[in-house]
């Protein structure tokens, strides 16, 4: 456990999915001592996983934060809409007075695999809107509030290995995440003068609700139930022979990502900025 965030306020976007990284990150930051604002587009997204039927979404995440003796606040916002983002930031400031830590975790991959020649324009635009423009809007709005008293404030963006490598069958997502890494490196340079650290975590294959949409598609294609689809090995790139083996021999967990975020927002990482940190199990 990396403690030492007592008195700090964190805002975590994309935090409503039960099996999501944002959920794990929000709870970890509360464990580390921070009060946490949790945000998502839908307060209680449904999960296709058996046993998740009673998941309470953001409210349940807030309960978990409060169970750790910290304050929590649930907000809904569509990060691709500037007005939503502005409202989110001003509500967080109204309640907590400041934002010390931003973890921007919102991301959508869309159904995969869909090759570029079959990818429709509206899906492409949606993927760039949410993954890239959404990040721009959130980082811009929160960074502005951090600048006047910047020292020790932290921004962490959850990117993806798709931000540094090809991702056949997910070109929109891949292009957006490449752009996101460029945004992170540039913002890190711009905010360094205020002693604000900006980094990205670059997860490899992690077992989250992220795969839900693809699992539904897979179930439809194979004529099997979603429960059966969950048990199949994850599909590989379009036309490929499945996922490359992960050297550490397992999928990542949301907690693996939360642990790395816990380090990056701590004083121990104060000389690390502008970095894209791979959390991939060796890929």
């Amino acid at each position: 456990m990396m403690s030492g965030l007592e008195g700090k306020v964190a805002l975590v976007t994309g935090a409503a999915s039960k099996r999501g990284m944002g959920h794990a990150i929000a709870v970890q930051l509360a464990t580390d001592g921070a009060d946490v604002v949790v945000v998502d587009k839908i307060a209680c997204p449904r999960s296709i996983w058996p046993g998740d039927e009673n998941w309470g979404g953001l409210d349940e995440v807030v309960s978990e934060i409060e169970a750790r003796g910290r304050r929590g606040l649930a907000l809904t916002a569509d990060v691709s809409k500037a007005a939503d983002v502005e409202a989110m930031v001003s509500r967080a400031l109204d309640v907590f007075g400041k934002i010390d830590i931003l973890v921007h975790c919102v991301g959508v991959r869309g159904p995969v695999p869909v090759p570029v020649v079959e990818l429709d324009e509206s899906t492409w635009r949606m993927l760039l809107d949410v993954n890239l423009t959404g990040a721009f809007l959130v980082l811009k709005a929160v960074a502005k509030t951090m600048i006047p008293d910047g020292e020790g404030k932290k921004i962490v963006v959850i990117s993806s290995q798709a931000g540094v490598e090809k991702y056949p069958g997910a070109a929109g997502y891949c292009a957006a995440k490449h752009g996101l890494n460029g945004l992170v490196k540039t913002l890190a340079h711009e905010l360094a003068q205020y002693k604000i650290n900006v980094n990205a975590v670059s997860p490899g294959a992690v077992d989250t609700n992220f795969r839900d949409e693809s699992l539904i598609k897979l179930a439809q294609e194979k004529g099997i139930s979603v429960e059966e689809a969950i048990k199949l090995p994850p599909p590989g790139p379009a036309g490929g022979g499945g996922m490359p083996p992960i050297p550490l021999g397992r999928l990542g967990t949301p907690q693996d990502i939360a642990d790395v975020v816990s380090f990056l927002v701590s004083d121990r990482a104060s000389y690390i900025t502008g970095q894209i940190i791979g959390v991939t199990g060796g890929l």
Binding site: M1, P247, L248, A269, I272, G274, I277, G278, T280, G282
Partner: protein, 276 residues
Amino acid sequence: MLLKDKVAIVTGGAKGMGRSIALKFADEGCHVVVADIDQGGAEAVAKEARGRGVGALAARCDITRTPEIEAMVSQVLKEFGTVDVLVNNAGGVPGTGGSGNSETITEEEWERIVTLNLKGPFLVTKAVLPTMKQNRSGSIIFISSMGAVSPVVSVLHYHSAKAGIIGLSLNLAFELAPLGIRVNTIVPGPVETPFWDSLLPPGPEREAFFEALGKHEVPLGRVGKPEDIAGAALFLASDLSSFVTGQTLCVAGGLPMMSQRAVFNIEGYLKERGIL
């Protein structure tokens, strides 16, 4: 306590980043082995570590000599029974005056510096692997250098060896991941350590140099401290990084690892002042 009751070997632990890493680990409940050619310096750091309530061992060890490495590792196993973390921190440019280019470096000097900075870390790693393989766990940390990929001063042999470290680390990560052993490399930016002593002895001139370097070159506006590197080493040694292997972590205050643009000409600065 991120490393409670773990056992870590830190080579080059008597001073600079190594000392800071050893003490940071001790703060987190880790038993530490301070391995160094400077026995007295190692003893002093081990004593400081013991003051933090952990076991500590000072071991004289020249990492270019297999018999000394093997003796050190067996001493560690006798004392602590295992090795969980190895920090391959020892290295440097002794006897070179801190510079060297394709004209000035002799074959003998090339051999000596590359052996110290590339072969040495390999030999120490090789010596701890039987224990880590038996445990089916372990974290190995290498220390490279920005100069390996973005040179701003001419230290050809040293930087070549440090580039080799990145390859060694990636390949070991690939080989050892199925056995549960993680391997990562830290790439420090400019850090104020005794490493600079051969180039610039401590004093006002050195202070001015670090201030100018931090201000002009580093986005965060300062050169690094040994503690900055120790924080990153702690992360890579601990379970916080349990899904992290084969990574090259740049701890450089915002300097990009691959930069063809040196805003601050260190070599020019030093030459202007008659230091180089």
